[in-house]
């Protein structure tokens, strides 16, 4: 008892160790006593704890600024990068820790193989291996969130791999897309998985490791144990301090990658984070079902095999150790070779390396720029308020509060890319929401039609192409009516619903 008190002299810590179960848990976490290289090797647990802490802390901070919808995601990430105090550093910490986690876990698993942890402390072993799977899942889902050119390509690839999975492919694909096409609902899926499901699984695994499977070793020798625990705690803390300093500096020097907005660039070469270069390289040689089976089967077999080591041949531990080392070597060797090949190929191809250098330059230009806020749709009266104003046609009641008229298909195909899905505009192209009322434009329907036909002829943007021959008259008229309906207050005093009706009349 004297030894236990020795650790915690201070009032508050005394109270904590007396009133809570914290202390036995901490002692349980610290495994059996050891010295020298073995004790330092075991500080990989401290490193992993640090990286997980950084992921949760920075992830929560990012969530304060991020909006998971395709219309806002890119802008809010740009806002984090350019305008939020320390935002670029926080996002960079999140990114670099996600890259380092699998590496730290590989080192952790390797040192556990040598200590025969899969027999002596199988809970710690299984936890380490499962965590490797979970952090890869976290990185894969987090990849989509900035909704830049990298993210959208990544989502395309992930959906395609899901779709090519044998048997469950169809279901997986529709479930991941949350529909029959990639949309803002797809981003919601990735967001929910990334910020709720995967972190919850990580916390659950950690809790099970600590509370359910943990076993206290060598409980007899309390004083020695306590002294050892203290010095192992010190070792872990030192490693944590050095690693944190290193990641912080890394994050200052190398910001997290952020590609261009998808609509702007067709020449952009998307490259994944270093932890997925093996997968990227693998996709160069495979197609269809084989690609999907390899992409998901390879990590599954490795993780499954390593977990199985905890349950195999308990009497022939050395044999299992050799098998585990073999599996580890093959798996991480393959990853290493594929990663090196991917890097080598990018470097040796002059065209690719030139484009990648250009992308880096574009990114540093972006980082030097001033943040430009995104123009949002003005708030609309809610459905209830509209109904209060008197009886209206059933069409009006059905129309959603934010869109008086359905978006014409001609708009979605031809215009949405630059002017936004609902005329809200994009970073470089103007919004259409109030062109009929805003002071600098005050466009009449005829002027809108003239711009659609030939923007240059009426002194408009040189970037917008002419749609004179690309659309027929009905389509153009539909576009004009729709753009008119976007304005919060129509100068003619017509309500958008009347226009909806008139369009339908024209069609009949």
């Amino acid at each position: 008892m004297a030894a236990e008190l020795e650790i915690n002299r201070w009032g508050i810590t005394n109270w904590i160790s007396r009133e809570t179960e914290i202390k036995p848990i901490i002692l349980r976490l610290l495994d059996e006593p050891g010295t020298g290289v073995s004790a330092w090797a075991r500080t990989t647990s401290g490193l992993i704890a640090l990286l997980l802490f950084v992921q949760f802390a920075t992830g929560i901070l990012l969530a304060f600024h991020y909006v998971p919808a395709t219309a806002n995601a890119y802008t809010t990430v740009a806002f984090i990068e350019l305008a939020v105090r320390d935002g670029a550093w926080i996002r960079s910490m999140h990114y670099h820790s996600s890259v380092l986690l699998p590496i730290a876990l590989a080192a952790h698993i390797l040192q556990m193989i040598f200590r025969l942890s899969f027999t002596k402390n199988s809970a710690a072993w299984i936890f380490g291996v499962v965590l490797l799977g979970l952090v890869l899942g976290a990185a894969a889902t987090g990849y989509a969130l900035p909704w830049d050119a990298r993210a959208i390509n990544g989502v395309n690839i992930a959906i395609s791999l899901a779709g090519n999975t044998p048997i469950a492919g169809g279901f997986l694909k529709t479930w991941m897309m949350n529909g029959n096409a990639i949309s803002t609902l797809t981003l919601s899926r990735f967001y929910g998985l990334h910020v709720w499901i995967v972190p919850m699984l990580i916390l659950t695994a950690a809790a099970m490791r600590v509370f359910i499977f943990g076993k206290r070793k060598d409980a007899g020798d309390e004083p020695r144990y306590a002294a050892w625990a203290r010095s192992q705690f010190t070792r872990n803390a030192l490693v944590i301090g050095i690693a944190f300093l290193a990641i912080s500096l890394l994050s200052v020097v190398y910001p997290a990658p952020f590609g261009p907005q998808a609509a702007e660039s067709s020449t952009y070469l998307p490259r994944p984070g270093p932890q997925f270069l093996w997968l990227f390289e693998m996709q160069k040689y495979t197609d269809g079902t084989l690609a999907a089976v390899l992409a998901m089967g390879f990590p599954s077999v490795v993780i499954g095999g390593l977990i199985a080591a905890a349950f195999l041949l308990r009497r022939r531990v050395d044999l299992v150790r050799i098998a585990a080392i073999g599996l580890f070597t093959v798996a991480f060797g393959t990853v290493g070779v594929l990663t090196a090949t991917a890097i080598y190929q990018d470097h040796s191809d002059a065209k690719i390396s030139e484009q990648l250098a250009k992308q880096e330059l574009d990114e540093s230009k972006f980082r030097a720029s001033v943040f430009e806020p995104q123009t949002q749709m003005p708030p609309r009266p809610s459905k209830r308020e509209e109904n209060d104003k008197g009886p209206q046609s059933s069409d009006a009641v059905l129309a959603s509060s934010s869109s008086p008229m359905p978006v014409p298909s001609a708009y979605e195909v031809n215009c949405a890319k630059c002017h936004g899905e609902r005329g809200e505009g994009t970073a470089k192209f103007p919004e259409l929401v109030d062109v009929t009322t805003r002071d600098e434009d005050q466009l009449t329907p005829d002027m809108i039609l003239a711009i659609i036909n030939d923007p240059k002829a009426v002194g408009r943007s040189s970037k917008m192409p002419s749609y004179k021959n690309k659309l027929d008259d009905d389509q153009k008229q539909e576009l004009v009516e729709w753009i008119k309906s976007l304005s919060p207050k129509d100068p003619n005093g017509e309500t958008p619903h009347v226009q909806t009706a008139s369009i339908q009349d024209q069609k009949q």
Partner: protein, 159 residues
């Protein structure tokens, strides 16, 4: 004596070993807390565009009752820019004075009551005269008045 000195050294080492890790973890925690504080400090770029806004044609503003008008104000808050409608009351019978529709009590939008010829705040029953003077209720001030001017036959207010 020697034994006692050794005891002191061991005690020092022990204290060092308990303070060092806590110190290191404290620095890590403090760094993240500082980043959290800085990134979550309230956004100071929330701003509406300032300047003179047109309320309406001076010729159309007439009568002996307040007229509700809306002006569009561009509001910038962080990453988003919205055009918001702001409601004001023009008093043609009081030198075209323009009143804010925000109740000085707790910020609810006031309404004009036709029968009583008074402004009413529906939240806590503050009443204001047709000039915007406080009559009854919890509000302690009169309705806020805008600075106005007339340019090219248009009534403008400064927001």
């Amino acid at each position: 004596m020697k034994k006692e000195e050794n005891e002191v050294i061991r005690a020092d080492r022990r204290t060092f070993l308990s303070i060092l890790p806590i110190g290191v973890l404290g620095v890590v925690g403090a760094s993240m807390t500082l980043a959290a504080k800085r990134s979550l400090d309230p956004e100071t770029t929330v701003a509406a565009d300032e300047g003179w806004k047109t309320v309406g044609d001076i010729a159309e503003i007439a009568g002996d009752e307040p007229i509700e008008k809306t002006i569009s104000v561009t509001c910038r808050s962080g990453w988003s820019k919205t055009v918001e409608d702001v409601s004001v009351y023009v008093l043609p019978h009081h030198d075209n004075k323009v009143l804010s529709s925000v109740c000085p009590h707790e910020g609810c939008p006031i309404v004009w009551e036709d029968e009583s010829k008074k402004f009413l705040c529906p939240c806590h029953d503050s009443y204001f005269s047709d000039k915007g003077e406080r009559l009854t209720g919890p509000a302690k001030r009169d309705l806020t008045e805008y600075e106005t001017r007339v340019e090219d036959g248009k009534l403008k207010i400064k927001v």
